[in-house]
Symmetry: C2
Subunit: 345 residues, 2 copies
DNA sequence: CGCATCGATGGAAACGTTTACAGTCTGTGT
DNA sequence: ACACAGACTGTAAACGTTTCCATCGATGCG
């Protein structure tokens, strides 16, 4: 009984109709009520299901949008993927996810794979491909980028308004009374943009920038940078380019016996799902991944219509939680004052 | 210049060969060196790329394994997906990910979609579909389950050895000297299995089970259950059915002014990526998601060969971190109480 | 010298659809 | 009674591959 899947021919025979009529019935063409009824029962009896591969071959479309994502384990990427699915769903389309693992070669392969599958569009998240390599790889397929990690060219793109987020974070610390604010910077494109925005925000407030330390976009990177940073005098607050780095900072602070936020305020960036469960809960800049994914999906599906919106900035929001507060005592604070006073156990 | 993609015919014309020869050259069949060279240059000149849709139509295979995953934002699911990709990669295949969002209807649709795409196999993660609905949906396609959330039937399946993990966790607390150990239980299938394993482990140690509270598999669920549990007398340790619930517990403990692990020890389950960054770092049972994904992928690809391994249990490992320690209260853990403790070090 | 063998090639038939086109009815206005 | 519209329906040609089969020289062997 494990016969191979029934085809449209089987349905046609069963329903005494031609395959053309069956096809029309299935796709909402003009068919007589009688034929439609026969076909429907035949479909049900046989358990027929359309073969989308064959269909794609003749129509030239697949109903698929290819998504290449750096890493599925990043909660932010997962949110973006979800956003893409949202808008694809309502159009009866689907996403096909492929991961490059931050390797440009894998990214190129992923694009090839997807195009071989006739995807109707491509959403590239955090793409590192140089403009020419990219153009060659995607050829005719419509493309939209999210938070592209490479130089811009004419392709439509959605990108966080990093500067606005950083400004909000720095303002928040300034408003709380901090004057000497350090920064832990990332090394990728958005890391650099955030660092520049930080410098600009400090300058705007008429303040000298605090110490800046760069590191990998990871907990370890953040911790290492924090070690260097917390050695400096007078720093009462630190703004991190990512939440992951912020947890590294939290650890380093704890090791040095610094209380957060009393001795040092911490602000992160991204608002990863678990940021609120840290101790203390992390004040951070929320990156609306799902919205960004939605926007990108719309962009890629509608790019032919208005070709004049190459870059779309979405606004982040500051989420104030427990890791930031007013400086306790500006002139006494600092590692020197409390050195060697770890209070735990 | 935006001509449509070159086909194998174009290559054949350009290389003065028949399409059959080109196809053979591309797929490693027998071709003369001269022809091969001509074809290769033609491919390069034209930028030809095989159309996998057409290919799939004739071969009946797609090189794709469909993966239906409850939710991309769960780090554990992402790890499993990664594991699947690992083994697919080394076979030149790819994963096609689709999410049901814990809705059985969406799960069924996802399976239909995937089968319409002619996937060569299906990996279902946390499937909730009843056996008959499932059987109807997958028809002839090979299937493997991961941590199926429904009754078993004959389908190959990989599943965590929940009982072993729970036993390790409970033993760990017992060895530390705890006697009154509470449990926060989950409601899904694995939650129930873990609860039963907890009860068994307590019985095995000759102890009465501590209070058990069930809740949703979320931070809020854990927090609510913890509120009920921490009111009880004498509880010096709590074992949670998941890390997410454990952070809820941590919060509830903090609110009540209970120190962890001094007043109450906490052990989680899963070892989600951020468990080590909590404060204190969470002692937990690590679920090797990536390995489970790998195992499932192998299972689905090789199921015809040995049909006799329907259920494969993978072993979790206990990761001891800062959230668990000996009970502080001296008179509860006197020598008498310790007498029955199986101490293995 | 004839015959089987072999390596390389091309022709053509699939694979399961959609869709342009050409029919076949039935009813209607003249 | 006739043409003609209109509503349905069927035939057949695509879509871009793989693969079976036949063909064709050339080579080796008896």
């Amino acid at each position: 009984m494990s016969r191979s899947r029934p085809t449209i021919h089987d349905v046609a025979r069963e329903a005494r109709a031609s395959i053309a009529t069956v096809s029309r019935a299935l796709n909402g063409g003009v068919v007589s009520a009688a034929a439609l009824a026969r076909i429907e029962t035949a479909v049900a009896r046989l358990g027929y299901r359309r073969n989308d591969v064959a269909r794609g071959l003749v129509t030239g479309r697949s109903g698929l949008v290819g998504v290449v994502v750096p890493d599925l384990m990043g909660p932010l990427y997962a949110q973006m993927a979800r956003g893409i699915e949202d808008v694809l769903d309502e159009r009866g389309m689907h996403a096909m996810l492929v991961t490059d693992h931050l390797e440009p070669a894998a990214e190129r392969r992923a694009i090839e794979l997807l195009r071989g599958r006739q995807v109707d569009g491509l959403v590239l998240i955090g793409s590192r491909l140089p403009a020419d390599a990219l153009r060659a790889a995607v050829a005719g397929t419509p493309v939209a980028h999210v938070q592209r990690d490479g130089p811009d060219d004419g392709d439509p793109q959605v990108r966080l308004d990093d500067a606005a987020g950083v400004r909000a974070a720095v303002r928040h610390l300034l408003d709380a009374g901090h004057r000497r604010i350090g920064h832990i910077a990332g090394t990728r494109r958005d890391g650099l943009e955030r660092r520049d925005a930080y410098l600009a925000a400090m300058a705007e407030a008429g303040l000298e920038p605090g110490p800046v330390e760069a590191g990998e976009f990871t907990e370890e990177g953040g911790e290492a940078a924090a070690e260097r940073l917390l050695g400096q005098r007078d720093v009462t607050a630190v703004f991190c380019a990512s939440d992951r780095m912020a947890v590294g900072l939290l650890h380093a602070a704890r090791r040095r016996g610094l209380a957060v936020p009393d001795d040092v305020s911490v602000v992160g960036f991204d608002d990863l799902t678990w940021a609120r469960y840290l101790h203390p809960p992390l004040t951070t800049v929320r990156q609306p991944g799902r919205d960004m994914g939605r926007a990108a999906a719309r962009l890629v599906l509608e790019s032919p219509f208005d070709a004049a919106v190459p870059i779309l900035r979405v606004a982040p929001t500051l989420v104030v939680r427990g890791s930031s507060g007013p400086p306790s005592d500006p002139h006494v604070t600092g590692p020197a004052a409390r050195a060697g006073a770890p209070s735990r156990r």
